[in-house]
């Protein structure tokens, strides 16, 4: 009996069994096809809009350094792999930032321009453009003692039962993924396709908007977009989904 267990453990290592599954694998084939084709993908306009914003001059920006492009060049090379390492600690401030907050602070500090607001079409577009440069790459945030506190905080938010329905993220996406809530299959709740076009929103949205949607679905008080709570949760999800292929800009139900 022990020998059988050993053989099974060697054949099917725990790591392989625990391999994360993208939300893509829980979608209807028709929804998968929408994401697969850049011409059909209703989130893909974000990448095109993001490219215009990347190339264009920002009002009030210093001459000669008025656009993202003037410092970073083509995003295909300079932004390759960046999204796979986010959210990350900002070396200047020591705070945790995601792509959205990093883009906002770059526009404010380097271009001396008014950054687009969280969840605005322009910020979603720039975020999608940057995230798109890591499409096909595995999520792989750096770990270490400097993010351990943030990860622990994210895990606590993930596992805390909350709201009038008294459910944690973990209750559904960790313990009951694959089962049906009415007609919908519960996914593992990974973050590897944001920003997304969400069919039930009929528009594009960020990961933090998705967090708020989930919080309200369990009748809990949400946190603010860009809040430390959401950033910690985003970091925890990046670690939990480590190795998943980035699909941004994705399509979800």
């Amino acid at each position: 009996m022990h020998r059988l267990a050993l053989v099974l453990a060697l054949l099917f290592p725990v790591a392989a069994l625990a391999e994360p599954m993208s939300g893509y694998q829980f979608m209807e084939p028709a929804t998968q096809q929408l994401q697969d084709d850049d011409f059909l993908n209703p989130a893909f306009f974000l990448v095109e809009r993001g490219q215009q914003l990347w190339d264009g001059d920002w009002p009030g920006a210093p001459e000669g350094a008025a656009s993202c492009r003037s410092c970073h060049g083509a995003p295909e090379s300079s932004m390759r792999g960046v999204s796979a390492r986010y959210p990350a600690l900002d070396s200047a401030t020591g705070s945790l930032v995601n792509l959205e907050l990093k883009i906002q602070s770059e526009i404010a500090s380097k271009l001396s321009a008014e950054p687009p607001q969280y969840e605005s079409a322009d910020l979603l577009a720039l975020t999608a453009l940057v995230a798109f440069q890591s499409r096909g790459m595995p999520m792989d945030i750096p770990t270490g003692e400097n993010v351990a506190g943030w990860l622990a905080r994210g895990e606590e938010i993930y596992t805390t039962r909350r709201g009038q329905l008294n459910l944690s993220c973990q209750n559904c996406h960790g313990e009951h993924w694959g089962q049906k809530l009415r007609g919908d299959t519960i996914s593992q709740g990974h973050s590897n396709a944001f920003p997304i076009f969400r069919l039930i929103w009929d528009e594009v949205g960020s990961l933090h908007r998705m967090f708020t949607w989930c919080m309200e679905a369990v009748r809990a008080e949400p946190y603010a977009y860009g809040s430390e709570e959401y950033l910690a949760l985003e970091l925890y999800l990046a670690d939990r989904g480590r190795g998943l292929t980035i699909e941004s800009p994705g399509v979800r139900r």
């Binding site: 805390t160 039962r161 909350r162 709201g163 009038q164 329905l165 008294n166 459910l167 209750n171 313990e175 009951h176 089962q179 049906k180 809530l181 009415r182 007609g183 919908d184 519960i186 919080m215 309200e216 009748r219 809990a220 008080e221 949400p222």
Partner: protein
């Protein structure tokens, strides 16, 4: 250093003293239980004076806007598509539970299963960060509970 969890037994005791104390308490509790059922067990008493309406209860449990039964449970006698698989089937549930037991599980299933993922439908006790939109009421009203219980009691053999 004795291993933790293996308390040395004092001489003269045939059982561990803590076990003996808890047994005495259990016997006392069993003697008091009939009193408690009369005085404190709300589940055996309907929450409202109006008798539960099974037809209204059926409307409630299929209403997807109300965090209702069919989201997580299935009832094969109902024609509704896409019933949930998260909780056990409610077929013949009235043969498995009494009216009081069903009422208790809907009011607050944590009373019988502290780690259940079933939401408490008529209690906000010790819930975390309820959204302000919902904090002033429970998921179900008292009459909703009675109507749902009345419908579930129709699910016999």
């Amino acid at each position: 250093m004795p291993a933790t969890g293996m308390r040395p037994r004092p001489p003269g005791f045939s059982v561990d003293p803590m076990t003996a104390v808890s047994r005495i308490l259990a016997v006392l509790l069993m003697c008091l239980l009939p009193l408690a059922a009369k005085a404190g067990d709300v589940s055996s008493v309907p929450l409202t004076a109006t008798q539960g309406d099974p037809a209204r209860g059926q409307d409630i449990i299929r209403d997807t806007g109300r965090a209702s039964c069919l989201i997580c449970h299935a009832i094969s006698a109902m024609p509704d598509r896409d019933q949930g698989t998260l909780g056990p089937s409610l077929d013949t549930v009235a043969t498995r539970y009494s009216e009081a037991e069903l009422r208790q599980r809907i009011v607050d299933a944590r009373a019988v299963a502290p780690d259940t993922i079933m939401p408490p439908y008529y209690s906000n006790a010790s819930l975390v960060r309820i959204g302000t939109r919902w904090a002033q009421s429970t998921i179900y009203s008292a009459q909703d509970v009675e109507d749902v219980v009345a419908f579930l009691m129709t699910l016999g053999d």
